[in-house]
Subunit: 125 residues, 2 copies
DNA sequence: ATCCCTGCAAACGATTTGCAGAACA
DNA sequence: TGTTCTGCAAATCGTTTGCAGGGAT
């Protein structure tokens, strides 16, 4: 649990606020260092872990790497561009029946993750 | 492209054949070493890469790690247990509309990945 | 006898952890 | 002032790569 407010935590949260999609820890570090040079990668990871435990941040797995986004975003999923590798938020959930899925009996579904792969507008030009 | 048949490649493929779900490279190594002690992790990765390029194996990303499965399996998705961490194959695609998704114009969808999270029968007991 | 393939070990990138000093409350 | 936090560096873990020897064709 987070117990104190610090410049690094404010900065990390601010970067997440203005992100256009989920960010990896190294990417987040890169952006945050523009506001707060000297910030260390360890602090980024420690802060992300605390924020996740606090329920303020959520992690999504994509293309083998962990990306982080604010947890207060409305339910959505992601689109990963095969060309430039960028990840975009989609404001739709293509999963028609979040619950009534035909899963074998005994499996308790608590959540789902949907990722679409393809080419983004910028790369298809 | 694979050009020669070797004991290690046969073994790796055999392990994938009898897997109940996608496997990570370290997990695959562990199982394969029971048939072929001395097998190295580098060979596992190199073989998986070649098999993927050959279209015989496919990789799925889940929980931040890359898992591998045979590419000749019918279209399906995965269920990841939050308790034991195991991944199971689901023989259904909960994605009702593989095509007509409400993605913003300009995005070309070439594929999708769906993962359900929850508790498996073994862990809910 | 080629030349591909393998094992070992070093290299790498992402993530975690130990430790001493810096900074909130 | 007392802890919590932070930065640095070392440690870990998954993955890749270089190299010399072994094996398939």
């Amino acid at each position: 649990m987070i117990q104190r407010n610090t410049r690094q935590r404010d900065t990390i949260l601010a970067v997440l606020e203005r992100a256009e999609g989920p960010l990896s820890a190294p990417e987040l570090l890169c952006r945050a260092q523009q506001d707060l040079p000297g910030l260390g990668i360890a602090t980024v990871y420690r802060t992300l872990k605390l924020l996740t435990e606090d329920g303020r941040v959520r992690s999504v797995n994509l293309d083998g790497e962990s990306l982080f986004e604010r947890a207060d975003l409305p339910h959505h999923h992601h689109f990963a561009c095969r060309v430039c590798g960028k990840v975009f938020d989609l404001d739709v959930c293509p999963l028609a029946l979040p619950q009534g899925l035909a899963v074998p009996p005994g499996y308790l579904v608590e959540g789902h993750e949907v990722t679409l792969y393809g080419v983004c507008p910028g790369c298809s030009a």
